[in-house]
Each structure stands twice: as C-alpha cells, then as structure tokens.
C-alpha cells in the first residue's frame, strides 16, 4: 500500500478522522438528548397538569364533603351553596383532565362516567343536604326517605372519594414512573456516551498514529538513520538516501542527496587542495630554510666584508706609509736603472754566444736520434731471432723425447734378447753378451738424451732471459729517442727564446731610459696616491657603516624568514590535519 500524499495532506487526513469520530459521538449524544427532551415535554405538557388537576379535584371534593358535614351540623344553607361551588370546581378540574387524556379512550370513558356520577351525586347531595340543613333549623324530625337518601349519599360519597383519590394516585404514580424512566434513561445514555466516546476516540487515535507512524515517522527515521551514519560513522559520503515517495521527505532526501554529491565533490577538491597545500607548505618551509641559510650566509659574508674592509682600511694606511717609502725608493731605483743599462749590454753579447752553442747541441742531438732508431731496429731483429731460437729448442726437446722412447724400447729388446739367450743355454752365451752391450748402449743413449733435454731447458730459459733483456733495451732506446726528441724541441724553443731575449734586451735598454723618466713622473704620482689613499680611508669608513646597516637588515630579514618557516611548519601541520580530517570522509 503506497501513500502518495504530502505530509500536510496526511496531517489533514488524520485531523479529519479525529473530527469525524468526534462528530459521530456528538450525533449519537444528540439523538439521545432529543429522545429525553421529548419525554420531558410529554411530562410537562400532559402528566404534570393531569396530576395537578386531579390533586385539586381531590382537595375540592374533600372540602365539599367537609362543607356538607358542616352544613348538616350547623344547618346553614350558605355552607351548602359554597359546597356547591366547590363541586363545580371539581367538575371543572375533572373536565380539564378529560381534555388532557382524550387520546386514552378507556381512561376518558371512565372519567366521563365519573363526571356523570359525580354530577348526579351533586344534584342529589344538594337536595338532600339542603333538606337536612333546613330540617335542623325548622323541623326536628325528618322523614325516613331523607335519611335513606342521606345514607345512600354517604355511601356514594365514600365511593366517589375513593375513585377520585384513585384517579389522583394513578396520575401521580404515572408522573413518578415517567420521571424515574427518564432518569434511568439519562443515566444509561451518559454511560453509553462515555464508552462510545472512548472507543471512537481510541480508534481515531490509533488510525492517526498509524498514518503518522507509517508515512512520516518511519521515513524520517530512515533519513535520520542515514544522516546519523554519515555524521558519526566515519563520514561515509558515498551513501545516499532512498527516494521512495514523492512527498516532502522524498523531496528532502533528493535534495539531501544533491547536497551530499556537492559535499563529496567539495571534499574531494579540499583533499586535492590539501595535498597541494601540503606540498606547497613543505616547499615554503624548504624555501624559507634556504632563505634562512642564505641570510646566515649573507650575514657571514657581511661580517667577512666588514673584516675585509677593516683590513682594507689597514692596508690603505700601510699603502700610505708604503707610498712614502716608495718615493724614497724611487730615487734608489733611478740610480739602479742606470747600472742596469750598463749590465744589459754585457747580457746581449752573452746571449749571442749562447745561441751559437745551442745550434751545435741541436745538431748532436739529431745525430743521437738517428743512432737510437737504428739500435731499435737491431733490437727487434735480435728479439725475433731469439724467438726463432726458442721454437727450435722446443723442437729439439721433442726429438729428445723420441730418443728416450727409443732407448727404453731398446732396453726392453735387450732384456728379451738376454731372456732368449739364457733359454738357449750355453749356445746363447755369446748372444747374451751382445744383449748386455745393447742394454748398455740403451742406458747411455737415455743419459745423453736426458743431458740434451737439460741443456735445451737451460738454453730455453736463457733465451727467454735474453728476449726480456732485449725488450728492456728496446724500451730504453724508445725512451732515449723520446727524450732526444724532447731535447731537440726544447733547444729549438731555447734558440727562439734567446733570440727573443736579445731583441727584448734591446727594448729593455730603451725601456730603462724611459723608466728613468717614468720614475720621476711616478714620484709625483705617488704623492697624489698618498692623498687619494686618505680619501679612500674615509670612504671605506662610510662603506663599513653601510655594510653594518646591511648586516642589521639581513638579521631582520633572517628573523622574518625564521617566522615564515615556523608559519610554514604550522601550515604543514594544518595541511596534514586537514588531510587527516578530510580522509575521515569516505568518498
């Protein structure tokens, strides 16, 4: 069963159900009230006046009878007449009762009979009691007829009284019964009303509870459950609310899902941004640490600079003092320059001699080079020959092996021959001597072969030594060749330089003259220089101050860089916190 109503509609529905139940109880109550009203109306219109009239009739009748009795006792006619008036009133009230109970034919018939009888009684009683009262006054004796009639009357009176009182009692009883019935009914109705109200209201309440619980509370519980899961359980943002009904909750879940999607996207972005932030903050901290190190370096440099400037200052002072010394020395220099000019001439002549001897050395060296090249060739030939000798020796050693083998075979042959000889007995004795000799030859040839092998081994080792020696010789000759090459080159260079030297010496000669003049000029320059060094000293002082100021600035910027680094570290921590926070969400 699907409810496709909005919550407002559902609430209206439940209120409607409540109102309907209430109206039902009201309707039932109204019906009962109308019923009792009808009965009460009946009482007020019929039963109450009937009872009242019957009571008055009874009262008047009693009064009438009393009056008759008084009239008889007193003998007054006026009393009879007043009794007659009462009788009329009795009749009137009886007639009124008759008018009320027209509907009830039996009762009205009985009542009309009573009225008729009462009227007869009245006429009879009037006559009789008027006679009796007159007789009392006038004549004491009464005839029999009258006394009979009066006795009859008294009987009739009793009967009538009985009947009227019966009537009155009946009516009052009916009234009483009716009241009792009405009361009872009223009581029942109240009880019934309460029960009905309870039943209807409980049914309505359960219906309303069913509607609200089924279509509002359950849905809201689902929504709150999922929201609670999202809020408490690790922030799983991949969950979605179910959109079942097109009511407000469905709308809410749909829009909440939209919100979740947006939130998920946002958190993903935040996550990415947090990573970026993390990286950036790490970079920032690195940069700031680099900056700090650079700043420290800068401070160091500036300190070095101040030191250097101090040194510079000192140096300038020493320059100033040196300049003074210089001017003194310049005089000495000019003297020395003249001496140099004289010595230079001697040097020029010596260099000419040197270059000629260099030429002869160069020629000798070239000859040596040629000789070493020849020696190299010879050495290679010798080493080749040595190698050939080695191979020949190896071949010879193979031959000796063969000789040894042959000797062994010969030995065996000699043995076998001696065996044969001994089996031949005396006849083989000569042969055995031959065999003995052959054996001796074999052993001798074995020994010679061994000697040859030994000597060849010696020769091989010696040739190897010779080969290595020749190789050493070749190496040395190569080195000699190289060094002679180097020597010839250097001699060429030296020759060149000596010619350069001689040309330059001439220039020097000229130079010394110019030096003498320049020295005089430089004496003037030195004086200017001493002035300028004074200026430089003051400027360096200014410069020192500037560098001090720069150092202070560098310190300040170093402090700020450190602050930047601490902030960067804090930022990194924040980024990591943000990362962990964001990571608690499942996306």
């Amino acid at each position: 069963m699907k409810f496709s109503f909005t919550i407002v509609q559902k609430i209206w529905m439940s209120i409607g159900v409540l109102i309907a139940g209430y109206l039902l109880t009201m309707l039932i109550g109204c019906i009962y009230a109308y019923h009792s009203e009808f009965r009460l109306k009946n009482i007020s219109e019929n039963l109450l006046p009937i009872a009242f009239q019957s009571k008055t009739a009874l009262l008047k009748f009693d009064e009438q009878i009393k009056l008759y009795n008084n009239a008889i006792l007193n003998g007054e006619m006026a009393l009879v007449e007043s009794a007659q008036k009462n009788a009329l009133e009795v009749v009137r009230s009886l007639q009124k009762i008759q008018a009320f109970i027209k509907k009830n034919h039996v009762k009205s018939l009985q009542l009309s009979q009573l009225i008729n009888e009462y009227r007869k009684f009245n006429t009879e009683a009037e006559k009789v009691y008027s006679i009796i009262s007159q007789a009392e006054k006038g004549s004491i004796e009464l005839n029999k007829d009258v006394s009979d009639r009066s006795s009859k009357l008294s009987v009739l009176t009793k009967e009538l009284k009985k009947r009227i009182s019966n009537l009155s009692n009946d009516n009052s009883n009916a009234l009483y019964n009716e009241f009792k019935l009405v009361l009872k009914r009223n009581h029942q109705q109240r009880f019934f009303n309460i029960i009905l109200f309870i039943i209807v209201v409980s049914i309505c309440i359960s219906a309303v509870y069913f509607i609200i619980h089924r279509s509002i509370t359950l849905q809201l519980d689902k929504v709150t459950g999922i929201l609670k899961d999202i809020a408490e359980g690790e922030g799983n943002l991949t969950k979605r609310l179910p959109v079942e009904n097109p009511d407000e909750i469905g709308e809410l879940s749909r829009w909440f899902n939209h919100f979740l999607i947006r939130l998920q996207e946002m958190i993903q972005e935040i996550m990415e941004n947090a990573d970026v932030l993390n990286v950036s903050s790490i970079n920032l901290s690195e940069f700031s640490s680099e900056m700090i190190s650079s700043m420290e370096k800068l401070i160091d440099y500036s300190e070095n600079a101040t030191d250097a400037i101090h040194q510079l200052h000192e140096n300038i002072n020493s320059i100033a003092s040196s300049a003074e010394q210089m001017s003194a020395n310049i005089h000495d220099v000019s003297n020395a320059a003249e001496d140099i000019a004289i010595h230079m001439n001697n040097v020029t002549t010596s260099t000419g001699d040197m270059s000629s001897s260099m030429n002869s050395i160069g020629k000798k060296v070239q000859e040596g080079q040629k000789i070493s090249a020849n020696a190299m060739e010879l050495a290679t030939i010798a080493s080749d020959n040595m190698n050939l000798l080695g191979t020949a020796a190896r071949e010879i050693s193979q031959v000796t092996v063969a000789i040894k083998r042959i000797a062994v075979q010969t030995n065996l042959l000699a043995l076998n021959a001696s065996i044969e000889a001994s089996t031949a007995g005396e006849a083989g004795r000569g042969f055995s001597v031959v065999a003995q000799k052959i054996k001796q030859f074999a052993s001798q040839s074995t020994q010679s072969a061994e000697n040859i092998a030994k000597r060849i081994a010696d020769m091989q080792s010696k040739t190897e030594n010779a080969v290595s020696v020749i190789e050493n010789v070749t190496d040395i000759i190569g080195e000699i060749n190289q060094s002679s090459l180097y020597i010839s080159k250097t001699i060429e260079k030296q020759m060149q330089t000596s010619s350069d030297i001689s040309s330059q010496l001439n220039q020097v000669n000229n130079g010394t003259n110019t030096i003498a003049t320049s020295i005089a000029e430089s004496a003037i320059g030195v004086q200017e220089m001493s002035k300028n060094t004074g200026d430089a000293a003051t400027k360096t002082r200014n410069f020192t101050e500037t560098i001090e100021f720069m150092k202070d600035l560098a310190r300040l910027s170093n402090n700020s860089a450190e602050r930047v680094q601490t902030s960067a570290v804090q930022l990194t921590e924040l980024a990591s916190k943000l990362n962990t926070m964001v990571n608690t969400f499942i996306i």
Binding site: V408, Q409, L415, N416, S418, I419, S422, T423, R429
Partner: protein, 168 residues
C-alpha cells in the same frame, strides 16, 4: 772395482755345471723381486688389457700378444699391495707354456737380468711356519727364498705357483 771382481767370479763359476741361476729382477713398491729367467717367455710394454667381468680381482684381464691371448694377473693385488695406476715403467712379464696355461703378471718396473750363485740363495722352509691369513698363505706358497744383492734383498718367487694361489 767390486762389480768387475764379481763378474770374474761368475765367469769362473760358469765353468762348473749348473751352480749358478739366472733371475729376472723387477720392482714392486720399491721392493725387489725375482723370477727364474727360464720360466719367462718375454717382457712386453704394450699394455692393452681387455677386462674380464665378474672375474676374481687378482685377474686384470686378457692381453693379445701377436695373436696369442694371455691372462694378466695383478701382482700387487696378489701380494696385497695397494693398487696404483699403469704408467710408462709398467711392464708385463709373460711366462712360457711349461709353467702353465699362457699368462703374465703386471709389475711396476723391470730391473735387469742377474746371475746368482745358488749358495747365496737362502731357501725358505715351508713346513716350519704355516701361518694364518690368506695373504700370508699365498706369500708362503709363492716365495721360494731370498738372495742378498748389492741393490738390496731380492725375494725369489715361484712362477709355477701364480695360477695356483689365486684359488686361495
């Protein structure tokens, strides 16, 4: 000088009838042994042995010498020496047909032919000491006697017993 003197004595004794005996000496693990030269057919150095499977361990196998097949015995094994590999000095001594069916023995090295006076040979009394043990028994059977030489003591073996002792 000593050798030449000895040679003279041998020449002298050769005139008398069979007072001297010739032996072919050989070495086995530095020990000198000798057999009567009249029992020997020849000595060969081409050792190409064809193995006989499931034979006794003393029998090395067959050897083909100029078309005749001979059984080769391992003397080292026979006299209870440790076996060694065949080398350049290793030889086989083949015996004549009168000794037994054609067979030879493998020895480490051939020494030479010598001639010994019979008086110098000390023959071995076989009855007196029959010892226990297979090897000792064999040795007792094989050993005829011993002879003192300049190179050392030569143990003389009986060629006729080689094939018999294998059975023990």
């Amino acid at each position: 000088m000593k050798m030449s003197l000895k040679q003279d004595t041998t020449n002298m004794s050769s005139l008398q009838t069979r007072r001297k005996q010739q032996f072919c000496t050989f070495r086995l693990d530095q020990h000198l042994f000798g057999v009567d030269i009249l029992d020997i057919k020849e000595i060969i150095d081409e050792i190409l042995i064809t193995k006989i499977h499931h034979s006794q361990k003393e029998i090395l196998g067959f050897i083909n010498v100029r078309g005749h097949v001979h059984i080769v015995l391992d003397l080292r094994c026979l006299l209870n020496f440790e076996p060694i590999a065949i080398n350049d000095a290793t030889r086989i001594i083949l015996f004549t047909s009168k000794v037994g069916e054609s067979f030879g023995i493998l020895v480490d090295m051939i020494e030479q032919m010598i001639e010994v006076d019979e008086q110098k040979i000390e023959f071995h009394q076989q009855e007196g000491n029959i010892l226990d043990g297979k090897a000792q028994k064999r040795f007792n059977l094989l050993e005829i006697g011993a002879c003192k030489l300049d190179q050392g003591l030569m143990v003389i073996l009986d060629a006729n017993k080689f094939l018999d002792v294998i059975k023990y």
